[in-house]
C-alpha cells in the first residue's frame, strides 16, 4: 500500500468540542508539588516522594538556571542568590517547588496501588507564578498532575548559563516580520 493506513485530525477537526480535541493520551507523567509536605497527599509511596524531593534539593545549586545579570534574574524570578563558580559570579533563583516524575507509563503498581516514581527535579517560580524546570521550560502554571514531556525529570548535565529575560519578558517591538508575502 502506497498510502497512509489510518489518518485523523485532532486540533483541526472543529466538529469536536474544544478541549476534547487536544487531549493527550491519558496518563499523567508527573506532578508539580510545592514542598515535601505535599508528598503525603500523593498517589505514591511517601518515602519515594521524599527521596525525590531531597534529590531535587541536592541538585538545585548545580542545575538552577544561571543569570549573568542579577537584575534579569530578579525580574524573571525574584529573590535570586549569587553563586561563585570558576571565578565568576552568577545568579540563580530559589527553588520554588519540585517535579515528581512518575515511572515510565505513569500507571499504578498492582500490588501497592501506588504510582512508581522516577525521580525529582527542582522547579523555579517565575514572576507570574509559573513553574519552570532547570531547562527553562514551563512545566505548569499551577501545582498538580502534568502530562507528556512536562513530566520529564531530565536535567542538563551541567548548569546552562542563561541570560534570558526570555522567561516572559515584555517584547520591545512587534510587527517586524511579516510585512508581506506568504508560502508557495
Amino acid at each position: 500500500m502506497k498510502r497512509s493506513r489510518y489518518l485523523r485530525l485532532t486540533l483541526m477537526a472543529v466538529v469536536l468540542p474544544a478541549g476534547l480535541a487536544g487531549c493527550e493520551s491519558g496518563q499523567p507523567t508527573g506532578v508539580v508539588l510545592n514542598s515535601i509536605a505535599d508528598c503525603r497527599a500523593q498517589q505514591v509511596e511517601v518515602a519515594q516522594c521524599e527521596a525525590a524531593y531531597n534529590k531535587a534539593i541536592t541538585d538545585h545549586q548545580r542545575v538552577a538556571p544561571r543569570f549573568a545579570d542579577a537584575v534579569q534574574c530578579q525580574q524573571d524570578f525574584g529573590q535570586c542568590e549569587a553563586v561563585q563558580e570558576e571565578g565568576r559570579t552568577s545568579y540563580i533563583p530559589p527553588m520554588g517547588g519540585f517535579l515528581l516524575g512518575y515511572a515510565l507509563g505513569g500507571g499504578f503498581n498492582n500490588n501497592s496501588g501506588m504510582r512508581g516514581v522516577s525521580g525529582g527535579v527542582p522547579l523555579y517560580r517565575d514572576y507570574r507564578g509559573g513553574y519552570i524546570n532547570p531547562n527553562g521550560d514551563m512545566v505548569s502554571r499551577q501545582p498538580g498532575a502534568v502530562t507528556g514531556k512536562r513530566g520529564s525529570i531530565a536535567t542538563p548535565a551541567r548548569a546552562i548559563t542563561v541570560s534570558r529575560s526570555g522567561f516572559g519578558s515584555s517584547s520591545a517591538a512587534r510587527g517586524s516580520f511579516g510585512s508581506r508575502g506568504t508560502g508557495g
Binding site: A13, G166, S169, R174
Partner: protein, 389 residues
C-alpha cells in the same frame, strides 16, 4: 496516466468545512476539484515519480553541502553575505528539516522533468496529505473506485513520524510554535495542519502570527503572551525574514527555525542551473543557466524565473516558435535563471503539475494541481489522484 471524470462526494463541502479546509474555494473559484482524478499505474508512480523524486532530493541535499562551503556559490544565489555563516553552521550542525515539494512535469510516459523545488514554504500540503487521502478512502467505500485502488500518499504518516522522531531525539524544543501571516487563510490552514501532526506526535504546540512575533530587549523571540519561542515552524520565506528588521537577530540562534536556515539555498531558483551544471543531461533535469545579464533577451525555447519567486509569479516564457507569454507578480526584476521550455502535458484542456512531497529525507507522495494555462499559479485547482492497476 489518465484524467478520469468521477462524481464528487455529495457532502464533500460540508466535510471540508468541518475539517479545516475552508479554502476549498478561493475568491469564489473552486480550488479543490474532485469532479475528476488522475489515474496512474503503480509502475508510473514508483519508477517515474517516486524514485526520480528521491534522486532529485538526494542531488539537492548534496548541493546544499557544497553551496554552504562556497562563498562563490552563495554569492551566485544572491544570499545576503551577513547570513552565510549562519546558514553554513545550520547545515554543519545537521539542523533538522521537515518537508519540501518538488514540482515535476509528467505526462505518463518518459521521464518526469524538474520544474523547481519548493523547500522553504511549500503549501498544498493539507489537501494533498489528508483531504486527498480521505477522498480515496470514501470513494472506495462508496464503490466509486475499485477496492484495490491506492494512492501514492503516506505524507501525513511521514510528517507525524518525523515530528515524533525529532521530539524523541530532542532535536526540537519542548514546545514548537507555528507561524504564518495572519491574513492568509491558506497559509494559516497549512500551519494548523502541521501543528495537528505535531500534536498527534505528543508535542506541545502554540500558534503565533508572523507579524506578532516579538523580540525581547535581550534578543529572545517571543509570542503574544511574551513566551519565548524555542522552535518556530514558519510558513514564511527565509529570504524575507533575512531582509526584515528582526532578521539580524536570527543569527543569535536563540530560536530554532523549521525549515532551517540552510533551506535558504534550496528555496532559490539558482539551484536549477547549479543542479544542471553538476548533472548535465540527467533525464529528470531541464537545461538551466543563470541569466547572463538582466534584461537580456530570452532565447527561444526558454523560461525565465526570478531567483526569488513563488506561486508561479513573474515567469516569462518564449516558446520554440517564438511565442511569448508570462505572469505578473511582486517579485520584480531581480536576478533570474533561464530554464529550457518544457510545457506541461494537456489532459482535456487542463495542464497538471505534479507536486512530489519529500518528508524528512524520503519521497512520500504526490498531489496534482491543474491550471487552464501552462503556468501553474496560486489559482490552480487541486485534483486528487489514484493508483489503478
Amino acid at each position: 496516466m489518465q484524467r478520469i471524470l468521477i462524481t464528487p462526494r455529495p457532502d464533500w463541502k460540508d466535510q471540508a468545512e468541518t475539517l479545516g479546509f475552508q479554502f476549498h474555494t478561493i475568491d469564489g473559484l473552486p480550488y479543490w476539484d474532485e469532479s475528476a482524478y488522475y489515474a496512474f499505474t503503480l509502475r508510473q508512480i514508483e519508477e517515474d515519480l517516486e524514485q526520480p523524486s528521491q534522486d532529485i532530493h538526494d542531488m539537492a541535499m548534496a548541493l546544499v553541502g557544497e553551496v554552504v562551503e562556497s562563498e562563490e556559490l552563495l554569492g551566485r544565489l544572491h544570499i545576503p553575505p551577513s547570513y552565510w555563516d549562519w546558514i553554513a553552521a545550520s547545515w554543519r550542525a545537521g539542523e533538522p528539516h521537515l518537508y519540501g515539494r518538488i514540482d515535476l512535469a509528467y505526462d505518463g510516459k518518459g521521464p518526469a522533468k524538474l520544474y523547481e523545488l519548493n523547500y522553504d514554504t511549500p503549501t498544498s500540503l493539507y489537501e494533498s496529505a489528508y483531504f486527498q487521502w480521505l477522498w480515496l478512502e470514501q470513494q472506495i467505500a462508496a464503490n466509486a473506485l475499485p477496492a484495490k485502488a491506492d494512492q501514492y500518499n503516506s505524507v501525513q504518516e511521514a510528517l507525524c513520524e518525523t515530528f515524533a522522531t525529532l521530539a524523541r531525539e530532542q532535536r526540537i524544543g519542548q514546545r514548537v510554535h507555528f507561524a504564518a501571516v495572519r491574513e492568509s487563510v491558506e497559509d494559516q490552514a497549512t500551519v494548523l495542519y502541521l501543528r495537528d501532526c505535531a500534536n498527534q506526535a505528543g508535542i506541545d504546540t502554540a500558534l503565533v502570527a508572523v507579524e506578532d512575533i516579538g523580540l525581547s530587549a535581550d534578543g529572545w523571540f517571543t509570542d503574544c503572551g511574551d513566551n519565548v519561542i524555542q522552535t518556530l515552524f514558519k510558513l514564511y520565506p527565509l529570504e524575507f525574514m533575512m531582509e526584515e528588521e528582526f532578521g539580524p537577530s536570527l543569527i543569535d540562534n536563540r530560536m530554532q527555525l523549521l525549515e532551517p536556515p540552510w533551506k535558504a539555498v534550496l528555496s532559490n531558483k539558482g539551484v536549477l542551473p547549479l543542479l544542471w551544471e553538476r548533472h548535465r543531461g540527467h533525464p529528470n533535469l531541464l537545461e538551466a543557466h543563470f541569466e547572463a545579464s538582466p534584461g537580456a533577451d530570452l532565447a527561444r525555447g526558454f523560461v525565465r524565473k526570478p531567483l526569488f519567486s513563488r506561486e508561479g509569479a513573474n515567469v516569462d516564457v518564449v516558446t520554440s516558435d517564438g511565442e511569448r507569454f508570462g505572469t505578473p507578480g511582486p517579485y520584480g526584476n531581480g536576478p533570474g535563471i533561464v530554464q529550457a521550455y518544457h510545457p506541461l502535458p494537456a489532459f482535456d484542456g487542463n495542464y497538471p503539475l505534479v507536486g512530489s512531497w519529500i518528508v524528512a529525507d524520503r519521497a512520500s507522495g504526490v498531489g496534482m494541481r491543474e491550471d487552464a494555462t501552462l503556468i501553474t499559479q496560486d489559482t490552480s485547482r487541486f485534483v486528487p489522484h489514484a493508483i489503478i492497476d
